[in-house]
């Protein structure tokens, strides 16, 4: 049984596939707090844990889009709060460049996002993911960059 959640669900409703990279110290913990506070957000969001947002290689983002992701979001510690002091600044710079390049390639700017979520911001995490999922749903399926060999 194919479990690709980006395929239309039984109700026929479009379900996007969203990859969220979360840094271990702030955002992943923020997601945990959202969980323990039972603050819901769509199951479309799948979280990958990284030590720091600066661990996210632009290639990971490209890979996600190539494999059919509809949106990619990076979450890190707030500026100045990085566990590794400056990692999130690198992220901000790298992703600014990457996102504008993706935009150029036709992947709408709204499909990519960087957000700062602290370990105390469970509510913000949930709100962010709800908002992002809503945005991606509105944009619809992402076909650019998708490796056609991966389909079916």
């Amino acid at each position: 049984m194919p479990l690709n959640t980006s395929a239309p669900a039984q109700t026929g409703e479009y379900r996007p596939l969203i990859v969220a990279f979360c840094c271990n110290w702030c955002s992943y913990a923020g997601a945990d707090l959202a969980g323990s506070s039972r603050l819901t957000y769509p199951a479309d969001v799948k979280i990958i844990r990284v030590p720091c947002s600066c661990r996210v290689n632009p290639l990971f983002v490209l890979k996600a889009f190539e494999r059919g992701a509809d949106g990619v979001i990076l979450c890190g510690c707030h500026p100045g709060d990085c566990h590794y002091t400056t990692g999130n600044y690198y992220t901000r710079r790298r992703m600014t460049l990457l996102f504008s390049m993706l935009d150029y390639l036709g992947i709408e700017r709204e499909r990519t996002r960087v957000e700062w979520v602290s370990a105390a911001e469970g509510a913000k995490f949930s709100a962010t993911m709800n908002d992002f999922a809503r945005t991606i749903r509105a944009l619809g399926e992402n076909r650019k960059l998708r490796d056609l060999r991966c389909g079916n």
């Binding site: 959640t5 913990a29 945990d32 661990r55 290689n57 002091t85």
Partner: protein
């Protein structure tokens, strides 16, 4: 051939209530590499762990995935379980199907599907896991404290008491720092010197403490547990082993025009001097810049005076290199120069003082012997105006954006001291807010108002002018809706405090980070307030942020506890998830070195065997004891040589693949 075991936890109904664990088990059994899958009510319980252990043995598992709560909760537990079963603990991955799944989704179908995807991602990752071993390093059982003020002294004394050797480096000729300059301390009004000098003497006499005064840190190498520090002992031109501190030479010195730093330049000292009577060590020092012998080659009066034959004009700076396990920053603060705020007239009238100058003026050992007189003409003042927040909470450019924290209290202290000793002198304090959080602090401020009749004016001074030999203070009195024009004899500026300027260079030697205001950054502002993000570097006192004496001492002792905790260890276990570079791919570009916040990457010339061809290349080498595993370098690396163990490019790509499948 990998054999993976997948263990799906119910967490009672926490997971099983929303996720069909049975379906998850069925689904993961289909995944390549999975040799075993099972579910259990509480995987973290003893019996759950035993289930894992026996499965590892029975099925010869090479890696395990636990689908359970957040790895922040039980990753360590399951790593231990794996280790007990003979597996490398880094062959364990957690799929977070509770916080990130069952707790936030209500629809069982949806939650189950997501749990399966998360499990697959973890399986994909564990298939690419490699056994990791943490390295260990030895710990040098000696600490270095940079700065010999009350913070440094307290930290050093506590470390020494625990039985470890500790050195203090102090750039001044004596330890004691700012606290030695203070007259009384709030809110108890006990004499600063009376409580500080015994500690200075203790530090000087403690056999575990070695003082390097009139010295500076020249260079720092190494990492936590293994720092190598070179200290420059500046030439005192006086032999420490012979000088008795009698002070004869200081009285005879004919060069008397040097501003006395201890009294904030309000009087002068000789070129050969002992900073003050209670100095530790009590050894004279020659200020070569002002010494006639060094300037003209003549004089030498001190040499002829010294019966101990301690004067040594030929003495040279000495470099001492030592190893340390831990380094403490205790570099303290200074007051900003308020000349940038010309409206207050500092530098134009001698009767406009900073609070620290006023402190000396009130001190019995100060330039006036403790008599409160106007510095301009020695007259007895009738009215003193204190201005708070001079350069604090100031974003205009010449000040500091932060609150300096200590000024409200010391100004209340100054006001009380003046009114107590000279009831005929009236005192006005201009304030923006009076901030007195602290034990007995607000009571103290209220005493200034209620018992001592100090006039507190809510408002700010706009201009101080000289008029008729006195000062005129124009300011707002906001609560009474009027502009005041007060005659005053002295104006005291509570100027902002800032980190000592030497902190910056020392911090960069230590690769310890500094915030925009020049204060040292903590590893965590709440939970690790006395540690720097750089392992093995600790923070004591105002170098980390403005604080008063009790807070400084508390932090100094906390800092000592952390240092002792480190020095007690026989060996340090390093983080196993560290960066490592493939020398064959490395092109020596230094990109990784530049982004590393810890200075963990260095370059070495290495002889390589590149597919049978021998070549020498400059390649990146990661010091595993220093690397904290953030991964910034892996992305910066243009050739793909740098990777992060435990979070390799391949592993994260595999997770992305599994999620997007």
């Amino acid at each position: 051939m990998q054999k993976i075991g997948v263990f799906v936890c119910w967490c009672g109904s926490n997971i099983a209530g929303t996720v069909d664990v049975g379906r998850v088990v069925e689904a993961v059994r289909q995944e390549p590499g999975v040799a075993f899958a099972a579910d259990y009510q509480y995987m973290c319980s003893d019996s759950g762990q035993n289930l894992i252990k026996s499965a590892v043995k029975e099925h010869g598992l090479t890696g395990i995935v636990v689908c359970s709560c957040s790895p922040r909760m039980h990753e360590a537990t399951f790593k231990k379980t794996a280790a007990a079963a003979g597996l490398n603990p880094y062959m364990v991955e957690i799929a977070n199907i509770r916080e990130h799944c069952s707790w936030i989704h209500k629809n069982m179908e949806e939650a189950t599907e997501k749990a399966i995807v998360l499990a697959r991602a973890a399986i994909a990752k564990v298939l690419k896991d490699a056994p990791l071993t943490s390295g260990t390093t030895e710990v040098t059982k000696r600490a270095l404290v940079i700065g010999g003020g009350i913070a440094g002294i307290q930290t050093a004394l506590d470390i020494a008491e625990a039985g470890f050797a500790v050195d203090i480096v102090e750039k001044q000729p004596t330890i004691g720092g700012r606290m030695a300059q203070l007259d009384k301390t709030f809110p108890t009004l006990d004499c600063s010197a009376c409580i500080l000098t015994p500690k200075m003497v203790d530090a000087g006499a403690n056999e575990n403490i070695e003082l390097f005064t009139y010295s500076e840190v020249e260079s720092v190498k190494g990492f936590v547990g293994n720092f190598t520090v070179t200290i420059r002992k500046k030439a005192r031109s006086v032999r420490a082993d012979l000088c008795t501190g009698c002070g004869e030479c200081t009285e005879k010195c004919p060069s008397r025009k040097t501003k006395n730093e201890f009294n904030m330049g309000m009087d002068t000292r000789g070129a050969i001097y002992i900073p003050y009577a209670q100095a530790v060590p009590k050894i004279a020092v020659i200020d070569r810049e002002h010494c006639l012998h060094f300037k003209t080659g003549k004089c030498g009066l001190c040499e002829r005076t010294c019966s101990a034959k301690a004067i040594d004009f030929a003495q040279e700076d000495e470099l001492v290199t030592r190893n340390y396990g831990a380094i403490v920053m205790a570099t303290g603060f200074q007051m900003i120069d308020p000349s940038g705020f010309g409206e207050f007239g500092y530098g134009k009238s001698k009767d406009v003082l900073t609070s620290l100058e006023f402190e000396r003026l009130m001190n019995a050992a100060g330039p006036t012997g403790g008599h409160l007189v106007c510095p301009s003409d020695g007259r007895h003042p009738k009215h003193i105006v204190f201005i708070q927040c001079v350069g604090s909470r100031d974003t205009s450019g010449c000040g500091k954006p932060y609150c300096s924290k200590i000024c409200c209290m010391y100004t209340a202290k100054h006001a009380i001291l003046v009114r107590d000793k000279y009831p005929d002198v009236s005192v006005t304090v201009f304030y923006i807010d009076v901030r007195t959080p602290g034990k007995n602090f607000d009571e103290f401020y209220r005493r200034a108002v209620e018992e001592y009749g100090v006039q507190y004016v809510k408002g700010m001074v706009g201009k101080v002018t000289r008029e008729g030999g006195r000062l005129k203070v124009q300011g707002s009195d906001l609560l009474n809706d009027r502009q005041l024009h007060l005659e005053a004899d002295m104006v005291v500026l509570a100027a902002a405090i800032e980190p000592d300027p030497t902190a910056r260079s020392v911090a960069s030697m230590l690769t310890a980070s500094i915030d925009t205001n020049g204060f040292m950054t903590e590893a965590h502002p709440k939970l690790r307030p006395v540690e720097s993000p750089t392992a093995g570097v600790f923070l004591s006192g105002v170098c980390q942020g403005p604080k008063d004496i009790p807070e400084t001492v508390a932090q100094a002792s906390a800092c000592a506890a952390k240092v002792i905790g480190l020095l007690c260890k026989q060996k340090l276990v390093n983080n196993a998830c560290v960066a490592s570079s493939d020398p064959l791919l490395c092109n020596g570009c230094s990109s990784c070195e530049k982004v590393c916040p810890y200075g963990a990457i260095t370059y070495e010339e290495r002889e390589l065997n590149d597919k049978g061809v021998r070549r020498t290349a400059r390649v990146a080498v990661v010091n595993e004891a220093v690397c904290q595993g953030c991964g910034a370098c892996t992305v910066a690396c243009p050739s793909g040589a740098m990777d992060l163990k435990g979070f390799t490019n391949q592993q994260i790509m595999a997770e992305v693949d599994a999620i997007c499948r």
